[in-house]
Subunit: 209 residues, 2 copies
Amino acid sequence: MRQKLTQNQQKVMDYLKQQVKENGIAPSLRTAAAELDISHAAVAQTLKFLEDKAYIRREGRYSRTLHILEDTGDIDAGQRQKQIPIIGRITAGLPMYAQQEWGGSLILDAALYPGQNLFALRIQGSSMKDAGILDQDLAICEPRQYARDREIVVALIHHEEATVKRFFLLPDGIELRPENPDFTPQIYGFDEVLIQGKVIGIVRGGMEG
Amino acid sequence: MRQKLTQNQQKVMDYLKQQVKENGIAPSLRTAAAELDISHAAVAQTLKFLEDKAYIRREGRYSRTLHILEDTGDIDAGQRQKQIPIIGRITAGLPMYAQQEWGGSLILDAALYPGQNLFALRIQGSSMKDAGILDQDLAICEPRQYARDREIVVALIHHEEATVKRFFLLPDGIELRPENPDFTPQIYGFDEVLIQGKVIGIVRGGMEG
DNA sequence: AAACCATTTACATTTATATTGACATTTAAT
DNA sequence: ATTAAATGTCAATATAAATGTAAATGGTTT
């Protein structure tokens, strides 16, 4: 939804529309200023507001070309919104919703994260630091019961602890490798690890401090 | 269960819902006051009650942004989506609004990223790797003309090159420090660097392969 | 009595508007 | 090419309007 215009902005807007319609080109700042009986810089300032509010679009630095934007507004936004749950803990295969979050859900861009039944997991610790996954990040995950070599996955170890690691398939087991030299890779038997999903993205917020 | 509203509070609540739906933004106190035919302070007071009872949520001290909350205490999903532009290039000191050479737009969670006029910047290179910011990530930025010590900022160097670095204020200049040992910090004079914004979040997608 | 509703008044902050003057760029004339 | 005029930009500044907040006060409802 476009922001509404103030009275003054509407006046300038109307004037612009009329001028463009009559002459095919926008008037110069000083011409407009004279007709509107204000200073040229004031006109320039109002044009800035109009551009901010997406009513007009100007091109180039010193050109007078100016487009009047119709209200075509990107309404496709509604289709692009996707709401996924934020999982707190994963225990015994049953994901538990994290209620301490914002209602336990996260809005994200469907265009960026294709797939269905995605979920988000809040990262604890910095074991995947070198993969650009930090403590408190939200990992966007796609549910999966299997994994391919070198993928970053959400794994449940011993039906208890959920962790995010890089997955390696060994001849006789599974290696879950952190991406941080302070942590050591762990090797498990096939029956010790349950793959829960694959990490397909990261969302980090709250970098206020 | 939420506390029930009084008749008056319900009236104001209904009015707010309708206004937010129509205009996408809450009316000013005095506008609301005029339409409800009470004083502006009365509206403010009722808003406080509504916020206490978790029916609405307001942001900032002097901002008009207001969210309608659902029964569960969540922000209504419709209000939680926020669409921000993805800035493609930052060129020659042009102010932000002029650079909207559509790299597209991004939907994100308004609850996670408060603030107005946010924009996104696609990261090139891995100079901020150790801060968990990787190549091709989308940096969520808040427009800012200044920066505080140690903040991660978007800076324009010599009116040409836009970079994301950690900001340090020195006695006689500015240090822009990468977070990657392969890169070296750079020191600039005050007039060589233009702060364009502050990085408040990261969105990473496409970790398919 | 306590919670709620409402008013008036004063105040701080933000946003919009406007001015002036200097400057850089473009355009047109020479 | 040079010059002059027109034009857009920018900075500093100022003012007005809109807006949210707070305090003091009193009425109404429960």
